[in-house]
């Protein structure tokens, strides 16, 4: 399974996202030390489970879903973790 799929299955299982986009940015980091072992990814995750949580707590939920592949398959993950309302009305976020 490719690494985007590895991330996707874990985030879908843990967060039941309304919207999930995962971008493989590994090519941007080719040659950089950490890139040899794992990839760089960016994720936009829209989930009800982020309601009432700080950014820190949201990111921890995301990382918790990926503990078996991070570090390892995934070297770095840039995260945008939004509730459905924040995703629909970005100005109010």
């Amino acid at each position: 399974m490719d690494r985007v799929a590895l991330i996707r299955t874990r985030l879908e299982r843990a967060l039941s996202p309304r919207y999930l986009e995962i971008i493989d940015e590994s090519r941007l980091h080719a040659g950089h030390a950490g890139a040899a072992q794992g990839g760089h990814f960016a994720a936009v995750i829209v989930s009800e489970k982020f309601h009432g949580l700080s950014s820190l707590a949201r990111h921890r939920l995301v990382y918790a879903a990926l503990t078996d592949i991070m570090p390892g398959e995934v070297h770095a993950l840039s995260i945008q973790a939004l509730t459905p309302d924040e995703h629909r009305f970005p100005d109010k976020a």
Binding site: A33, G34, H59, L77
Partner: protein
């Protein structure tokens, strides 16, 4: 002092500290570079630890902070986050306020 105690002391003794890859002037990773730039732009002295030069700290910090990646920024003894959250707070003007409070509270 073991490495876990050393990490906890570093976090509690410095109002603002970043654990990063490289140094603020010679960052070795784009995420560390952008995060250190945001701290520099707050115009307050901050401490840093280069985790590439300190592999024991690199291995030990994630279990102390419950955060898997670097950089990690601590203000007033608390983890505020990595690159994404630090930059988001800087862009909203929240980081500058939080840091100034932590630095003046420490004096």
């Amino acid at each position: 002092m073991d490495v876990i105690e050393q990490i906890k002391a570093t976090i509690s003794e410095n109002p603002v500290v970043i654990f990063m890859k490289g140094t603020p002037d010679f960052p070795q990773c784009g995420f560390s570079m952008r995060t250190a730039q945001a701290l520099k732009a707050c115009n307050v002295d901050f401490a840093y630890v280069d985790v590439l030069a300190n592999p024991e700290i690199r291995a030990g910090l994630p279990s102390v902070s419950n955060w898997p990646t670097f950089p990690q920024v601590f203000v007033g003894g608390d983890l505020i986050g990595g690159c994404d959250i630090t930059l988001e707070m800087f862009q909203k003007g929240e980081l500058q306020i939080l840091i100034k409070q932590a630095v003046s509270g420490a004096r």
